[in-house]
Amino acid sequence: MSELAISIAVNVLLGLVLLGLLRWKRIGDTERLAGAAEAIELFSRRLPMTAGGATVSHDGRSALLDLGSDGCVGLLQRHGRRWNARTLVPGEVSSAELRQEAIKLKFADFAWPHAQIRIDDPDARARWLHRLQALRSPHA
């Protein structure tokens, strides 16, 4: 058991060293979306779908995309130093709520459980909230 404790301690120590080093070296992510066009381009590179429009979040780290008349919504979100993309089809959203100026989403997905998108424009925010609430699963 002492070997197990030592192994875990080494890992924890390593984590602290790496955290200190990454902070010291200021290794972080500064990439932000420049606008809707970039969001559409990045999304289409990850999923073979063409978005008709997009709204970029206040912090430029996520965007909601209009995927067409069938109600599907695209989500582009910064994850580490990569962009993740997913579609939200009817039933996939567990809850969509407004918290101050942000839409807080919960997904029926253990591996990508939630997202938060702050949208400055109140009209756009209300429109997206309405669309996302329409995608909620029946049991949510």
Binding site: L4, L14, G15, L18, R86, G91, E92, F110
Partner: protein, 582 residues
């Protein structure tokens, strides 16, 4: 039994290797090497590592219990010596290959191993992101045979430890390529980057631990392609850095699949042991299915979004595109692909005048033969990346290249991916025939020595199009010395027709309804060369005359049709895929 000092040395080596992570961060931040770190991702790796160490600590008895029990019924007593350690190391490496391959190809085992692939970054800290359930999954049973043969459990454990220590340096982008002999024999960062790729081309390849020969031997080797950067991570990437979710996400997804309403036990078996992405309704998102999708054509395939992104649990989304299964045949079938057109107006190069040639342009054709025993691709045409580019960008050696359809897309239309192609034959190595050859490096390449030597000569390495076929250098290759009956029944025969190049070859295909056909490569370019008995001056002494004479004799005796791939008339009228000849 190995001296405990070996294990102490391995433990010290492990700690020293861990120190390489901060060193890589230091160098990466100085931009001296290519290495990309993200704070959250790195800390998630450490978090997963803590869990992995913990569960190894409490479950390792499953490993030691299994091998110790087997060792108590051993067939031989194998002493621990330098030679016996080398032997157990090599055998354990083979065991590792199969452990790893099963870990990727069966969902239950992937639920455990997929954790290691879940980071979208690739650096030395990726080593830390290890499964919590390796011992629990059942694959530890693969260690049992070595103990049963008579290798001491400690020797097996030491071999495995050394194997894992070797793999530490593989997780980096700071090292590009090792010397060629090294790349051939051993696992390297380049090979392992491919293994961590989620690009359809790279999925499920390069399973080796130390010796790359296992992948070469068992057909899973895929080289890193300069023109396709590796996208690290999973097909469906995670949206969390929570170590618990990272470690267990696939188990949760598997459980949800197993609990779908209306499944039979056969379906549940498929979800449990089938490849990741298997679906009971046939809308698979497996590696093979993903390779079949025409992503390059930007077709909206909602199936991808739904099945791959997990929404398939719910009602089928509206825009689902069905995937064609690869053709299965009882008699050989020949598909012809439009692999481009060459705009050219200088028939004098072929000793013909413009008045003598009906159409001076040239079609470019590729052919797929689907045989009950396998598939063979003859030529790969113009490069797929020419599609959509203006003509003025695509002029090469006086030939304007036009291409509207990718070969990859045309193959996908009939449910075929490069992974389905068993054999690749290139009529010769000129750029209009090898434009996509690198995509088929996983096939067995049938080639004559003269052409292969020329393709990898020093001069050829400077060709602008060298990269389009360079991956073939490490593919499984059969050097042909004479005509070659590919499937052993005379239906597909490679015929040596040197002259245009030293290793130029034609292909005789015997079809049940259409009859015999000779695909002549560049033995003739224009049909008028045949009618008027002309040929380029430089080919008068290289063997073309003799090869033409031989082919004409074969045609006379067999009654075969001669298909001249560059003939525009042939190109316009031939029945193209997805139709076929049989």
């Amino acid at each position: 039994m190995p001296d405990p000092v070996y294990f102490q040395a391995a433990a010290i080596a492990q700690v020293l290797l861990l120190l390489l992570i901060p060193l890589e961060i230091l160098f990466a931040s100085g931009a001296r090497f290519k290495a990309e770190y993200d704070t959250q991702d790195t800390l998630a790796n450490v978090g997963v590592s803590v869990g992995s160490v913990f569960f190894w600590g409490i479950l390792s008895w499953l490993f030691f219990g299994g091998v110790t029990l087997a060792y108590s019924h051993r067939l031989f007593d194998i002493p621990f010596t330098g030679w016996s350690f080398l032997l157990v190391f090599a055998l354990d490496d083979c065991r590792y290959y199969w452990w790893h391959r099963i870990g990727h190809r069966s969902r239950w085992f992937w639920a455990s191993h997929g954790v290691h692939h879940s980071s979208q970054h690739f650096n030395l800290s990726t080593n830390l992101r290890q499964s919590w359930t390796s011992e629990f999954s059942g694959l530890v049973l693969l260690n049992v045979p070595l103990a049963w043969i008579g290798f001491h459990p400690s020797a097996i454990a030491l071999a495995f430890s050394v194997n894992l220590l070797y793999q530490f340096w593989l997780h980096t982008e700071t090292i590009d390529k090792m010397p060629r002999w090294f790349e051939w024999l051993l696992n390297t960062p380049s090979h392992h980057r491919v293994h961590h790729g989620s690009n359809p081309r790279y999925l499920d390849s390069n399973y080796a631990g130390v010796f790359m020969i296992w992948d070469r031997l068992f057909g899973t080797f895929v080289p890193e392609q300069a023109d396709e950067p590796v996208r690290y991570g999973l097909v469906k990437n995670l949206g969390t850095f929570n170590p618990v979710r990272i470690a267990l996400h696939e188990y949760v997804a598997l459980a949800r699949d197993l609990m779908r309403p209306g499944l039979t036990w056969k379906h549940r078996f498929g979800y449990f042991f089938g490849p990741p992405g298997w679906r009971h309704d046939g809308r698979h998102a497996t590696t093979e299915a993903l390779r079949s999708m025409r992503l390059a054509d930007r077709v909206i395939v909602r199936f991808f979004a739904a099945a791959v992104l997990g929404a398939a649990l719910l009602a089928p989304p509206p825009c689902i595109a069905a995937l064609a299964p690869p053709p299965k045949v009882t008699v050989p079938r020949l598909y012809v692909f439009d692999c481009g057109t060459l705009i050219y107006n200088k028939p004098e190069d072929y000793n013909l005048t413009r008045d003598e040639v009906k159409d001076t342009n040239m079609g470019v054709t590729c052919y797929l033969i689907v045989h009950p025993k396998g598939m063979l691709l003859y030529d790969t045409g113009l490069n797929d990346r020419l599609v959509g580019r203006p003509l003025y960008e695509n002029v090469l050696e006086g030939y304007g290249q036009i291409k509207f359809n990718t070969l990859e897309g045309q193959l996908a239309d009939i449910g075929v991916t490069p992974a389905n192609i068993d054999y690749l034959v290139l009529s010769h190595y000129h750029w209009d025939h090898v434009g996509n050859a690198g995509d088929f490096a996983g096939s067995t390449w049938l080639v004559y020595q003269g052409d292969r030597d020329q393709m990898f000569s020093k001069a050829a390495r400077a060709y602008p199009w060298f990269g389009r076929y360079s991956a073939l250098e490490h593919s499984k290759t059969t050097i042909l010395k004479a005509d070659h009956d590919v499937f052993g029944d005379g239906s597909v025969v490679v015929i040596a027709t040197p002259g245009h190049t030293e290793g130029h070859c034609s292909l005789m295909v015997r079809l049940k309804n259409t009859g015999p056909i000779v695909l002549s490569g560049d033995l003739y370019h224009y049909p008028e060369e045949r009618d008027l008995n002309r040929l380029p001056d430089e080919e008068r002494t290289t063997g073309t005359i003799e090869s033409r004479r031989r082919i004409e004799e074969i045609i006379r005796r067999s009654g075969a049709q001669l298909w001249i791939g560059h003939s525009m008339e042939f190109f316009r009228t031939v029945r193209k895929s997805p139709a076929w000849y049989d």
